[in-house]
Amino acid sequence: MKKQEAIAGWMFVLPALIGFLAFFVWPAISGLAYSFTDFDLLTPPEFIGFDNYVRLVQDPLFWNAIGTTSYYVAINIGLQTVLALGIAVLMHRLTQSMVVRGIVILPYLIANVVAALVWFYMFDFQLGIVNEIIDWTGLDRVAFFGESAWAIPTVALINVWRHMGYTALLIFAGLQTIPKEVYEAGVIDGGSEARMFRSITLPLLRPVLAMVLVVTVTGSFQIFDTIAVTTQGGPVNSTRVINYYIFDMAFNRFDFGYGSAMALALFVLLAVFTFVQLRLTRADKSDLG
């Protein structure tokens, strides 16, 4: 019996295991290996030791990419989480309507590139409706994608638009798990809305929020699609985020070795960041008991 179960266990997990080994483990190992080589895919890789890493440390564009990506993540996640929380609370308080929830999740259904293209058009300096409105109020037009100070915030805004509904639903589900008795007690104690939110809702939501943050931050660091179809790293390198820089280096400039080194550096940075984040938010404990 046990043996049959053990065999069955292995067989059930086999396809996934093959996928895991072939497309996660093997690439991770070879990625590591490539990072120590000079490889242009047209000729066999050439071992060059730590040269790529030395180059990485001295490469202003790499650090620019890390900085730009971090800036992007900060704006994106900061705004998105606040908005999603707000929407979730509003829905929680005002309506359980399926229609509202359906509308709110709509942007998530379309591809990143679709959202990017639509907003690229809407934010356009000359043709965009947003600038028309700005013009109409008497202010100066803004080159959302043409001005280096505006480019990353604009990309962040687009992704906030796309993800805030989905994130709101995640938080909303979390709100549902908070027992109503807790609120009732808070009301009896004479708490105002704001106070209850601060002292009851937020703390009890912490595990959910923590998980949401970890996943959305990790996802946010992967930003690529939007930039690929709008600014391609410009203007003046202000949107040259790390994913785009690596992609550009590997597939446009044929430097797979250096690209792999940068990807590994990113992996390490992300792992550390996630670890710290999980620690800080004590995500594995719930205040409920």
Binding site: Y121, Q126, L127, G146, S148, G234, V236, F251
Partner: protein, 454 residues
């Protein structure tokens, strides 16, 4: 290829039942069918019909062979090509461009075509002078056969000229200089009109609220290192050249005083309100659409786009020569495309035959008739001039400039893509007003670094 609406609709409907059947239709690869089929890539969809015609003619003249033409937009072209080279399913023949030719040649991706020259009996004197030499690699082998040539001129809006009290003749003999812009700047100023109708050379001109810009601006397109349709007419006529030699120069002159002062003057036009800001120019409205919408009075652009300017409703366009510079000469960049055979081809003989055909009168005449570009073969080139004239476009300005030697060859160099990549953000930064033109000298140092290990 043209298809009628009905045929396309029927085709679309016919495809639907096939959706269920085509489940495993993936996988492509040129040249795996019986007989000879080769794949040819190009990027300009405007030229595609002409080349489809050439392909048909070629197939008729070479029974059993066929040419499959694929088009990828310019923005994607090179990346798609490199991905396909790396992926092992590259096309057989490609339209080649000066900016990536050196890289392809030096990594052995192109086949030498000297034997084609022999077998087809090609005499390069029959072609536009200067173009054939651009396609000889550093090793002395020829990697591309000339396809077409192009240069730069000024497109004008005739109505705006008239409104400003000017005539096309007034544009024929202008000159500029880095100090005060000369008669060229005066003309541009005159043609600029702000939202209140005040002209650029009148008092009270509001540079922050301009309705019509005297001179248009094109974004990207090699604006950093190449500037063919942007600043090259100025820098090149200011006694400046791209590098120590061409082709395959290694010491670029972006730190040269003459270059920097030319850029400084040119960028100054934006502040004066005669040229749109870079932000506006890089928005979703390109230089041609803006011209067509009546926002620019003049536009510096290449001959391959000329036809578009004449196609706008309500705009009466014309072509005028570039201004003369401090060295007393005009200077437009003369460039040309070529066709090359990739070394990964499985049909080298057929591919070479196709390339030979493309550079022959048979195909170049077809291209001439289409009146989109100027074929490199002189006899066909003349026919093109006529075809353009028949279409109502007088392209003599381009031909005159080339005949008078008022052109400079486009730079061919190793690492050119990297040079472009380095210079573009630097130039953009200057144009946005974020950095001084002097900062270009720093970028120039980075460019020199690229050649340091050669």
């Amino acid at each position: 290829m043209k298809t009628t609406k009905k045929r396309s609709l029927a085709a679309a409907i016919a495809v639907l039942p096939m959706l269920a059947v085509t489940a495993c239709a993936g996988g492509s690869g040129g040249g795996d069918s019986a007989g000879g089929e080769i794949t040819y890539w190009l990027w300009d969809s405007n030229q595609q019909p002409a080349y489809e015609q050439c392909a048909t003619d070629f197939a008729a003249a070479n029974p059993g062979s066929s040419v499959n033409i694929q088009q990828f937009g310019w923005d994607d072209y090179f990346q798609t090509l490199t991905t396909s080279l790396v992926g092992g399913d590259a096309p057989d023949v490609i339209t080649n461009h000066a900016s990536f030719f050196p890289q392809l040649a030096s990594t052995g991706q192109l086949l030498p075509l000297d034997d084609v020259v022999e077998s087809e009996g090609i005499d390069f004197d029959d072609y536009q002078a200067g173009i054939p030499e651009l396609w000889v690699g550093q090793d002395g082998e020829r990697y591309g056969l000339p396809k077409d040539w192009d240069t730069v001129a000024t497109i004008y809006n005739a109505q705006y000229l008239a409104d400003a009290g000017l005539t096309p003749e007034s544009l024929q003999d202008l000159s500029w200089n880095p100090e005060d812009g000369g008669t060229w700047e005066q003309t541009i100023a005159r043609l600029s009109v702000d939202a209140n109708g005040v002209r650029g050379d009148e008092p009270g001109f509001d540079a922050s609220n301009v309705a019509v810009y005297g001179l248009g601006l094109k974004s990207k397109s090699g604006i950093g290192a190449f500037g063919q349709t942007q600043w090259s007419p100025y820098a090149l006529s200011n006694d400046w050249t791209y590098a120590d030699k061409n082709p395959f120069g290694t010491d670029f002159n972006y730190d040269d005083e003459k270059f920097i002062e030319s850029i400084e003057w040119w960028q100054g036009l934006i502040e004066k309100g005669y040229m749109p800001s870079y932000q506006a120019a890089s928005s979703g409205v390109g230089i041609q659409e803006a011209f067509g919408a009546g926002r620019y009075a003049l536009a510096t652009d290449g001959s391959w786009n000329a036809k578009t300017y004449f196609g706008f409703e309500g705009i009466d366009a014309g072509i005028a020569p570039l201004p003369k510079g401090p060295d007393g000469e005009r200077a437009g960049v003369l460039n040309g495309l070529a066709d090359s055979v990739l070394s990964t081809t499985e049909q080298p003989e057929l591919s070479k035959k196709w390339v030979g055909y493309l550079s022959s009168a048979a195909c170049q005449d077809v291209v001439a008739e289409a009146a989109v570009v100027f074929p490199a073969l002189n006899s066909s080139s003349e026919k093109a001039a006529t075809a353009f004239a028949d279409a109502g476009i007088d392209v003599s300005t381009y031909y005159d400039a080339v005949a008078a030697g008022e052109t400079e060859l486009a730079p061919i160099a190793n690492h050119w893509l990297d040079v472009l990549a380095v210079m573009e953000p630097a130039m953009e930064s200057v144009l946005i007003g974020q950095s001084d033109p002097d900062s270009l000298a720093d970028a120039s140092e980075q460019v020199d670094q690229l050649f340091a290990n050669d």
